[in-house]
């Protein structure tokens, strides 16, 4: 019986390490330029031209790093877990490699979000750290990343390691909605979201526009680092494939 084709063609093409290596090679410079442009414009706008806050003065500007880092840490986790699930279900090597490549990037984003939050918390709240639901669930996210990375590092066989790490990242997926809704479900010190889908942002446009540019810049930067790590990983694991040999010889 012929198998029903219900996945688009590009999905199956992505499964080929060679095709994936070639397409990311083409996409990489586009995203690199976009990241450079957005981060450059965004950071200058945010630090030099956005108006100061009426209460916090200039210290609020740290949110231009804090918010994109926190968003990215969570997006990256979802990407890692979904790639892990695809690897588990379809036994797709490239998906496993993508999950492996994403883990350290997400971990560094989580560290950046936690560190900038602490630096902001001291002058604003009066404390570096509070064990409230938002901060604690974000710390758990970092530990999940570290756990996933440790599993990859602990196992020799990449397939077994991918299986174990994917299961851990799927288990930790439940933490993502907890982070998002922690400020709504429980009494926390961390403020509720400034941006809601249904409401006008509680921030004027001259403040949130540079933030939006920074978020786009962070996503592009994430895409660049993910693709670079993924390409490295493809070459490392496919080093016995003929196309990799040809590639190396030709360079």
């Amino acid at each position: 019986m012929p198998e029903k084709k219900w996945m688009p063609r590009w999905f199956y093409q992505l499964a080929s390490p060679k095709w994936c290596y070639q397409i990311t090679g083409k996409l990489l410079p586009i995203f690199a330029w976009l990241a450079l442009l957005c981060l450059g414009v965004g950071i200058v706008w945010a630090l030099a031209f956005a108006p100061p806050d009426y209460q916090q003065g200039n210290s609020f500007r740290i949110m231009y790093l804090h918010v994109p880092a926190a968003i990215l840490a969570q997006s990256c986790y979802m990407l890692m877990a979904i790639a892990g699930a695809i690897g588990l279900i379809w036994k797709m090597k490239v998906a496993d490699m993508a999950a492996f490549a994403a883990a350290p990037i997400g971990a560094s984003m989580a560290v950046l979000a936690l560190a900038t939050g602490a630096i902001w918390g001291k002058p604003t709240w009066g404390s570096w750290w509070v064990w409230d639901a938002r901060l604690t669930s974000m710390l758990i996210l970092l530990f999940l990343y570290l756990g996933v990375m440790a599993l990859y590092a602990a196992m020799e066989n990449p397939n077994t390691a991918a299986k174990a790490a994917s299961i851990l990242s799927l288990v930790g997926l439940v933490n993502i909605p907890i982070i998002k809704y922690s400020v709504e479900w429980w009494n926390t010190l961390h403020q509720p979201a400034t941006f809601k889908l249904t409401e006008k942002p509680a921030m004027p446009v001259e403040m949130w526009l540079p933030l939006l540019i920074m978020v786009i810049g962070f996503y592009c930067f994430f895409a660049v680092s993910l693709m670079m790590r993924l390409r490295n990983e493809i070459l490392r694991r496919e080093k016995r494939a003929s196309w990799v040999r040809e590639l190396i010889v030709s360079q």
Binding site: Y54, A85, S127, N187, Q191, P192, T194, A202, M203
Partner: protein, 153 residues
């Protein structure tokens, strides 16, 4: 999709749903323990334990802040718009402390129902604006206040 993959897909979904249900139930059971602070309503209603270290959160009532001229002692009332609790604190308050601002204090309720704080943190709200806009809103009396549900979940 071949049966093998279908089976693995079902297993993955089962894992995610199962973990979500388990964690959801655990968090629901722990609900009160996850809250960072007690609200004035809970303190007045006797839900908060007495003579033990707890956190309390609310908005500083306008016109209630009384500073001692001789020392760093300060007294103020905090509210969740339903009940009020008196707070006493000796020490340096955070820069953002002001009337109409949310705060989270750590301390204990004494015999008179006054909250004796050992630490006061400012609870920043989600509103950001340039100083000129804030002045205009202040003049018009439309300064956003922390919502009631911020203190009572």
């Amino acid at each position: 999709m071949n049966p093998k993959r279908k089976q693995r897909l079902a297993l993955v979904l089962l894992l995610v749903v199962g973990v979500s249900v388990a964690v959801g139930l655990a968090l629901y059971a722990l609900n009160q323990n996850i809250n960072l602070f007690y609200s004035p309503t809970q303190i007045v209603g006797g839900e908060a334990p007495k003579d033990t270290r707890i956190r309390a959160g609310g908005m500083v009532v306008e016109g209630s802040v009384k500073r001692d001229q001789e020392s760093l002692r300060v007294q103020f009332a905090m509210t969740d718009y339903a009940e009020e609790v008196l707070v006493e604190y000796t020490g340096i308050l955070p820069d953002l402390f002001r009337e109409g601002q949310g705060i989270v204090a750590q301390g204990a309720i004494d015999g008179n129902g006054v909250f004796q704080a050992v630490e006061v943190l400012a609870k920043h709200d989600e509103n950001y604006m340039p100083p000129e806009v804030a002045e205009a809103l202040e003049a018009a009396g439309k300064m956003p206040k922390p919502a009631e549900e911020v203190f009572n979940k």
